[in-house]
Subunit: 129 residues, 2 copies
């Protein structure tokens, strides 16, 4: 059974910005806006193997994402979880999937396709309002 409550599922299926937290190797925390998708089990994010977020998750697999409803500012969903896998995306296919989901016009493939990876996040807990 999914941890995601039906009442807040729309916050994962609408193309909203998620704020993704990871931990840096010096113990400081990082949180930045990210595209994502949800397949009913995992949330997936695109990044590159040259970026800090990737290195952070190699060292500490915990991550958490907060999404608020732009139409109801006090309504939100937080999903906490761990990395379920990091998969290469050398053609940028998953970047392309997200770019279409979020309506970003660009000329595929994305310039840094060779370094692209898909971060899959397995939810372990949620909070909501």
């Amino acid at each position: 059974m999914s941890l995601i409550p039906d009442s807040h599922l729309d916050l994962l299926t609408r193309p909203l910005c998620g704020h993704l937290a990871t931990r840096r190797d010096d113990g400081s925390l990082q949180v930045t806006p990210m595209w994502f998708s949800y397949d009913g089990t995992d949330l997936s994010f695109t990044t590159t193997s040259t970026r800090r977020k990737y290195r952070n998750l190699e060292q500490d697999p915990h991550l958490s994402v907060s999404i608020n409803d732009p139409d109801q500012p006090y309504r939100y969903l937080e999903v906490r979880g761990v990395v379920a896998g990091i998969d290469p995306d050398p053609t940028g296919a998953f970047f392309d999937t997200l770019a279409r989901r979020y309506g970003l016009p660009y000329d595929p493939p994305v310039a840094d396709a060779a370094d692209r990876v898909v971060i899959r996040m397995r939810p372990t807990a949620i909070s909501k309002q």
Copy 2:
């Protein structure tokens, strides 16, 4: 000199939602939408001494906040930092300041005023787009 670039200062002075990351004692990360204010040096948040966020910060003083621009979805400011202090707010005065900043109607004092605290965050680094 402030770490906050003039180009993104508006994201701290407009009444926008910040997504605040803290670390739980089991090593998982927490990130939730929060009101905040900025005084030119520190960011301040209201919570209560009974909440998880307060306990998290007592154990690990690292925190980070991400604010994106609702008018320009790829424009954002991330501020990373540490707790500079946690001060009691037993009359709810700082909650009241934030409620007015964010335009929330309510009958002061806030019901949990006795437990209210102000978390002051000292910025140590930023990222932006």
